[in-house]
C-alpha cells in the first residue's frame, strides 16, 4: 500500500479477526524432511521446547497485607502460585476463582449472559491514569493502568495495588500467576530460535538477546457457553469407479449418490479464551504477528486466582479495551467452528466428502470472566515498508508452550529453493531425455 490513509484497512476474510485456516497438528511439518539436504533436515528435526502440563495446588485466601506481619511489600514467588512477603518471607496462596465463584459448574444449564463484575462494560469516560490516596501517608500516587497495576508510594515506600474494580476495565476478575520462570523462558526461546538459524535474518541473529524477554499479563475474556448448531449441505457416496479409453487417453470416472445432509448438535464449551484487547485480537498475519501469541493458548485457567495486584509486581500488564458485545461475533464464529468440528465424525460415510452450505447457531447461555494471563514475550522489530513488522516469540507463562516468528533472510531462502529446484529439474530433464 503506497498511501495508508486512502483506504480503510481491509477486514480479514471471514470471522472477526480469526485466521481462516485450521492450524496444522502439533509436530506436523509442511515438508518431508527426509527429502531435504542435511543442514535443513537437522534444523527441521531438532526438538521443540517442551510444554509441560501444570497441575493445581491447594490454595487458600490472600490479602494485600501480609497476613502474618501486615507488611505491604508483597511479591509473586516465581515458579509458583504463591505470594511472598518480602519483609518476613511468609508465603501464601490466593483464592482459586473456580471454587470461589463456582465457575466449573452449571455450564449445561446456562441461560442468558452471566457477566462477572470484572468483565463489565468499560465506561466511555474512564481514564487509564488513575490517582490513589496512599493508605500509609495520604499522599496522592498516580498509576498508569495501561501497563502497571501497582506502585510504590514515593514518600513512605508503602506498596499498593489496584484491587477495587475501576470503571476503565483495568481490573479483571482473576489472574493466572506466572509459573514458568524467566530463565526457563529464556532457554525455551533460545531452543526455538536455534531450530531456525540457517535462513534467519542476519540482523535478527546479531541482535538476538533472549534475556530481554518481558513478562506481560495480557487481558482475556474466558467464556463458558451453551449452544446449539445446525448445519446443512450435500454429501456424496461413491457407487462405482471405472476407466474409459486406453493407453494415454485412459481416464477414471466416478458415479455417486448425492444426499442432502442435515446435522444438529447441542454442546457446551468450558473456558474458551478470547483476546479482550483490540490490538491483540487483530490476527492479520500480513501486518502483525499476534497469531503467535494466539497460538500459545490455552492456559490452565482452572487454576486462576482471585484478582490481587501483588501478583503483578515486577511484571507489566496490558489493559482490556473490549467489552462483551465487541467479542460476541468472535465467540459465535468460534462456536460455529467447534460445531462443525463436532459433526465431522457423523459424516464419515460420505466418502466423497460433504459440502456444507448453510449453518446456524443458537447461543442459549454464556458466562464471561475477565482474566490476566501470563505471557513471556520477546520481540524483534524488522524495519520495512509501513513501519516494518514486529516479530514476537511468546512463551506461555504456565505450560511453557513456545511459538514464534523468526524473520527470514529472503535471498538465502530463495537461493536455497532455486538450488533444490534446479537439482530436481536436472534429474527430470535427464529422465525425459533418456526415455525419448
Amino acid at each position: 500500500m503506497s498511501n495508508a490513509n486512502s483506504r480503510p484497512p481491509v477486514p480479514p476474510p471471514t470471522g472477526p479477526g480469526s485466521p481462516q485456516d485450521v492450524p496444522p497438528l502439533p509436530g506436523s511439518l509442511p515438508l518431508d524432511p527426509a527429502t531435504l539436504p542435511e543442514p535443513i533436515r537437522d534444523e527441521l528435526l531438532a526438538p521443540d521446547p517442551v510444554a509441560i502440563d501444570t497441575s493445581s495446588a491447594e490454595l487458600k485466601d490472600g490479602l494485600n497485607h501480609c497476613p502474618k506481619c501486615g507488611a505491604t511489600d508483597i511479591r509473586h514467588k516465581p515458579g509458583s502460585d504463591l505470594l511472598i512477603c518480602v519483609y518476613c518471607r511468609n508465603e501464601w496462596h490466593g483464592a482459586r476463582i473456580e471454587e470461589e465463584f463456582g465457575l466449573g459448574e452449571g455450564i449445561d444449564q446456562l441461560e442468558g449472559d452471566v457477566i462477572a463484575s470484572g468483565a463489565r462494560d468499560i465506561a466511555a469516560d474512564a481514564a487509564s491514569v488513575m490517582t490513589f490516596k496512599c493508605t500509609g501517608c495520604g499522599a496522592e500516587v498516580a498509576v498508569n493502568t495501561q501497563n502497571a497495576m501497582s506502585a510504590r508510594c514515593h514518600w513512605c515506600r508503602h506498596v499498593f495495588g489496584i484491587n477495587e474494580q475501576v470503571a476503565n476495565g483495568a481490573v479483571p476478575d482473576a489472574v493466572l500467576p506466572f509459573r514458568i520462570k524467566k530463565d526457563d523462558a529464556v532457554a525455551r526461546i533460545r531452543q526455538f530460535v536455534d531450530k531456525r538459524q540457517l535462513f534467519a535474518l542476519k540482523e535478527f541473529k546479531e541482535q538476538f538477546t533472549p534475556e530481554n524477554v518481558v513478562g506481560v499479563y495480557l487481558p482475556y475474556m474466558i467464556v463458558d457457553g451453551r449452544a446449539s448448531a445446525d448445519v446443512g449441505g450435500k454429501g456424496e457416496i461413491e457407487t462405482a469407479r471405472y476407466t474409459r479409453g486406453s493407453g494415454d487417453k485412459k481416464k477414471t470416472y466416478y458415479d455417486a449418490d448425492v444426499y442432502r445432509v442435515r446435522r444438529h448438535v447441542d454442546f457446551t464449551v468450558d473456558d474458551l479464551p478470547l483476546e479482550s484487547s483490540t490490538e491483540r485480537g487483530n490476527l492479520d498475519t500480513k501486518v502483525n504477528t499476534n497469531n503467535i501469541i494466539n497460538t500459545i493458548l490455552p492456559f490452565d485457567t482452572k487454576n486462576a486466582v482471585k484478582w490481587n495486584a501483588s501478583y503483578l509486581s515486577g511484571f507489566s500488564s496490558e489493559k482490556r479495551d473490549r467489552d462483551v458485545e465487541h467479542l460476541r461475533p468472535r465467540l459465535e464464529d468460534q462456536l460455529l467452528s467447534i460445531a462443525r468440528a463436532q459433526v465431522e465424525d457423523s459424516v464419515h460415510r460420505y466418502d466423497r466428502g460433504v459440502r456444507w452450505e448453510t449453518e446456524s447457531l443458537d447461543v442459549h447461555g454464556t458466562r464471561w470472566v475477565s482474566m490476566y494471563l501470563p505471557v513471556w514475550l520477546y520481540s524483534y522489530h524488522q524495519p520495512g515498508r509501513n513501519g516494518g513488522l514486529l516479530h514476537y516469540i511468546a512463551v506461555n507463562g504456565r505450560t511453557g508452550e513456545t511459538m514464534g516468528s523468526v524473520p527470514v533472510q529472503q535471498w538465502k531462502l530463495i537461493l536455497a529453493a532455486l538450488t533444490v529446484g534446479t537439482f530436481l529439474e536436472g534429474i527430470a530433464i535427464w529422465i525425459v531425455a533418456s526415455q525419448s
Binding site: 466416478y254 449418490d257 445432509v261 494466539n294 463436532q342 460420505y350 459440502r355 530463495i414 530436481l424
Partner: protein
C-alpha cells in the same frame, strides 16, 4: 513416454522450489499457526442428530471429491441462517 507425463516431470523443478520456499517460510514465520480451539477447548457435546435424504445421482464425473468439500475446513464460514429461518443478506 507421453507429452503429458514429461510435462509433469518437467514441472518437478519449479514445484519443488516453490514447495521448499513455502515450507521453510512457514517453519520460520509460523504464519499458519493459531489457537486450535476446536481441539484444545473442553467441549461436551450431546450425540449429534440429523437426517440424510437421497436427492440425486452423479454419473461419470472425473472429480475425486465433491466440489467445494469443506468438511475439514471448520473455519470457512458458509451461509448463516438466523434463528427464524431468515437468510442473512
Amino acid at each position: 513416454m507421453s507429452d503429458d507425463s514429461s510435462l509433469i516431470l518437467l514441472a518437478l523443478g519449479p514445484a519443488g522450489a516453490a514447495g521448499l520456499y513455502w515450507g521453510l517460510y512457514r517453519h520460520y514465520r509460523n504464519t499458519d499457526k493459531s489457537h486450535a480451539y476446536e481441539r484444545e477447548t473442553l467441549v461436551e457435546a450431546r450425540p449429534v442428530t440429523g437426517s440424510d435424504e437421497k436427492i440425486g445421482e452423479v454419473k461419470g464425473t472425473q472429480e475425486t471429491r465433491i466440489r467445494g468439500d469443506n468438511v475439514r475446513a471448520y473455519r470457512k464460514r458458509v451461509q448463516r441462517l438466523r434463528g427464524d429461518g431468515e437468510r442473512e443478506p
